[in-house]
Symmetry: C2
Subunit: 405 residues, 2 copies
């Protein structure tokens, strides 16, 4: 069976994702599609609007065959680490190809840019260092360094999906993987778009924004498959809310207020004395947005700050992160279709990492960050019993099994 | 001026407190009455139903002349430490007498019991040790040890106010204070009473319970002065709630879930491996009450567990507490009447501790625990702007000045 991988967050799964999925299948002649998906907290340092199980269900309902979890250690990270973890896991799942969306749309340009990067590494590093001294953020510095190389047939590294794609292709090279990368040009909606610009395709950002602003399902119905809409509505009805940062703000504020400077300094990504500003701004802020506005500077991008906030919320300490960031050490199965199950039974014996479908005492240590992420995610739920249930779901919820009716 | 001290929590100030205050004035010929009052968290390990400033206002409106704060380090403590801090501060304020309510009502019996305790210390310690080995709580063990002495004219140390009184009188002896203790027999209501048993006098416990169960001011109006009722109503209207543990439960649960075993072990009063049970019970509990029911054992009294929970909520670490528990090192002025102000200006120059009426940068270190207590107390407020205001009130709110109209 020809297995194709995709790297996703599905927050939520929408028509753009469906287009990408179908194109990826077609382009790579896939017999089975495996999604490696971030868990309850996402790359941009946000809680997912619905739990990883509901997002798994959306993915399977739309045609994905297997969903595995990108561990917290790789999910809430800058593009490079995120890409490394994701590609590593797809390779571990014996995918022969993977396909990502990009603004560029031409895989040769990615391969070429990665090659140029390797050939000019010292030069690029020097420019990045120089630019950062001027006080700009790391992504901006990287983008400027590449621009200065003036690569023919290079990609525009100021585009968010190109950045991710660059790191995917670079990860393949770094780990000497046999998986082959493909790319598809993204249609209509851009990653960061906050407003709708098409009738059926919209970014996940704009879909979430529309929902939280209007609480009107009609506003988003035309941009997502009916299965996504139903899953979102069910979740909302059962849990009483979708998730966003503001639900976690009281806890972040509480953590900042009651932590000592020394304790904050132990948290992953808290660097360069920012712990003092965190302590200073926390008690005077009235919302997460207010706090972020106060914290933001030219050097600290919104995304970097948000990721730092997730790590503070989770109390993830540097040394613990460093230990588990070396490489993924397990494959957590979140869900599968019938086709996916067949594929799994075929490859199971040859996997080099343990495939975890049930969280027992024996794997709790291994999954510590992911379990903590679910518990922390649950704390934002207001209904007390639903909060308890969600917090313990890693232990009670088997992988989603989706059978086409 | 003859200054009399009282040791109070006023949660809230009620008719029983008024009776005690007037009797104390009469009995000690007081020209001025000074209350040393717990701040936002109380001796039994609970948040006060209204802030320390509102409780100060209630006290002044009812005839107290000066309110000073019993620092967190002494307030959220077992009787012995609580009593030591309170008596030490009254002595520092140059009170010549102080008066406490008790079930016994006879000061000679307290003095005699303390004397017996000193004379039989080794014997008592041995019995306490023996009893605790049987698995009973410390207070029960102490009570049994005293019973075994069979003191003629002793006091019943199974009664909560007698226990406190014993420690007040013992503290006077321990610190060789010149302040003279008086006691008044408590009328009608017992400390732990949860239900009303008189028309005008009820315990603070029963008053709080009646309010939270009915949210009906008429249920408590006959048990408190009109000034208390008005202050409670104003607070409720402005802040949107009175405080109780359940408002802080999500934060305690969050803290327990995201703290490592090692971090919990650093917290004051977390001993004997209870950190493992705390971690185990937190995610499966749906309320503070539910959690406490799960945690409670014969050895750990409800009160001891509640105090532990406040320390966990506050993130108060053992070494920091030990440092500041040696003796009160400042007098924090919360409020005064005109009469109180005159007294203050008279004694000000002779005070051996700094009198703090304004929290500037120079005293933040000194007051660290009390400032943290107010911030933590504020986190339980749902209205976002009120939360922020309350959290910062130590810096913005001058001492309450009460002038009789």
């Amino acid at each position: 069976m020809q297995a194709t991988g995709v790297i996703v967050e599905y927050n939520p799964f929408h028509n753009g994702h469906l287009y990408h999925l179908n194109e990826a299948k077609r382009k790579t002649n896939a017999d089975v599609v495996i999604a490696v998906m971030s868990g309850n907290f996402l790359q941009r340092g946000e809680p997912a609007i619905v739990s990883k199980w509901t997002r798994t269900h959306m993915a399977l309902a739309a045609g994905i065959d297997i969903v595995i979890e990108l561990p917290y250690t790789f999910a809430v990270q800058k593009a490079e680490t995120f890409a490394f973890g994701a590609v590593f896991l797809l390779e571990s799942m014996k995918c022969t190809r993977f396909c990502f969306g990009s603004e560029s749309g031409t895989i040769d340009h990615f391969v070429h840019t990665v090659q140029m990067f390797k050939n000019h590494k010292n030069q690029i590093d020097a420019i990045i260092k120089q630019e950062m001294k001027k006080g700009v953020s790391y992504p901006t510095a990287v983008s400027r360094a590449f621009q200065s190389l003036n690569i023919r047939d290079g990609i525009d590294l100021s585009q968010p999906n190109n950045i991710l794609g660059f790191h995917y292709v670079k990860a393949v090279d770094d780990i000497q993987a046999s998986i082959v990368p493909y790319t598809i040009e993204r249609k209509s909606a851009h990653y960061h778009d906050e407003r709708f610009s098409s009738d059926t395709i919209a970014s996940a950002t704009s879909i979430r924004k529309a929902f939280f602003e209007t609480k009107d399902w009609n506003q988003i119905a035309s941009y997502v498959p009916v299965t996504t809409l139903a899953a979102l509505q069910n979740y909302y009805q059962e849990i009483g809310q979708l998730h966003h940062w503001e639900s976690y703000w009281p806890f972040l504020q509480y953590r900042l207020i009651t932590s000592s400077i020394e304790q904050l300094r132990e948290i992953y990504e808290v660097e360069e004395g920012i712990e003092y500003r965190l302590k200073e701004m926390a008690p005077s802020s009235v919302s997460f947005h207010d706090f972020m506005e106060k914290m933001k500077t030219k050097r600290y991008t919104w995304t970097r700050l948000q990721r730092m906030c997730v790590h503070i919320l989770m109390n993830t300490r540097k040394e613990d992160m460093w230990k588990s960031m070396k490489a993924p050490s397990y494959i957590r199965l979140l869900g599968m279709s019938e086709n996916g199950r067949n594929y799994l039974s075929q490859i199971k014996k040859d996997l080099s990492l343990p495939l975890i479908s049930k969280v027992g005492a024996n794997v709790q240590e291994l999954l510590a960050f992911d379990l903590l992420a679910t518990r922390t995610y649950g704390i934002g739920v207001k209904k007390t019993k639903k909060r308890r249930d969600l917090m313990n779901m890693d232990f009670t919820c088997p992988p989603v099994y989706f059978k086409k009716s």
